[in-house]
């Protein structure tokens, strides 16, 4: 389980990254993250929606209500150009943290 702070920091890059696979709706986004993380990333599911709406306000993503194959309506989210740009920046930042930690842990394997 991630800490509250890490969940808050990682939700936006996770959503942006999952949406690079193509448009998707909230429930499926959560499923995808759970599946890829092997169940290690568990969100309070309802909390995703205010984040999605904030991202929409920031023009990172756009949304559309459409009828799904089940006959019910779902709100689909899609990446926008601004979102792709934001993802590139997020990626660089996360990679630098990741690389630094990896180097440190390689240097001092006993500490982990």
């Amino acid at each position: 389980m991630l800490t509250k702070e890490l969940v808050a920091a990682s939700t936006v890059p996770l959503v942006l990254s999952v949406l690079t696979e193509g448009e998707n709706y909230g429930y499926a986004l959560i499923q995808r993250v759970r599946e890829l993380s092997g169940g290690k990333i568990e969100w309070t599911e309802g909390m995703l929606y205010p984040v999605l709406h904030w991202m929409e306000k920031e023009d990172l993503i756009e949304s559309e209500w459409r009828e799904a194959e089940t006959g019910r309506k779902r709100k689909y989210y899609r990446l926008r150009k601004e979102g792709r740009k934001a993802l590139q920046e997020e990626k660089q930042q996360w990679m630098s943290v990741h690389e630094t930690l990896t180097k440190l842990w390689k240097m001092y394997p006993s500490s982990t």
């Binding site: 599911e45 309802g46 909390m47 709406h53 779902r74 709100k75």
Partner: protein
Amino acid sequence: MENVSQFDLNASLGLWLERLVQSPHFRNENVAEMESHVRDSVTKLQSHGLSEEESFLIAIRRVGSVGKLEPEFAKVNRSSRNLILHGVILSFFSVGCWILWALLLVPRIFEKISSDPPPLPAFTRLLIGCRDFLGVPPLLALVYCLYVFIKKSDVRPSWKRFLAATVGAILLLAFPIIVAVLLYFVE
């Protein structure tokens, strides 16, 4: 074993959603999206062999408590501009009404300082007598603003409507008052 109490998904979901509907922090669209989410979640959990009731209970548990979600939705749904503009218009309207009220004092003041004051025309006297009622329109406007404040943000009426109504009211009030004051000085 037979099911003793029949579980009704639509009824239980409706009851749960009602709490979101009642909250001013969830837009109607948010409620629809949460419903869609819970239904998807229930369908998925049922496909793993859980009963409809079990699936529903787990689904809403995973969504999180309404109390915890509320502040997050409130943050993103806050459209402060519309509310601020309502407040600004209310202030201007109140000041406008106060100016009209003060305007009605002018003939009275003039009457006091002049040595040989002409009598007040009947119409002027009537309006001066009623001038304290000018407190009523700002009060009504305040009540309206409070009503707007508790409305859901996606059905909240626009400030433009309020502006049109208050400007109309000021003009309607100003016309007879200006006539009454001028009438005194013309005579």
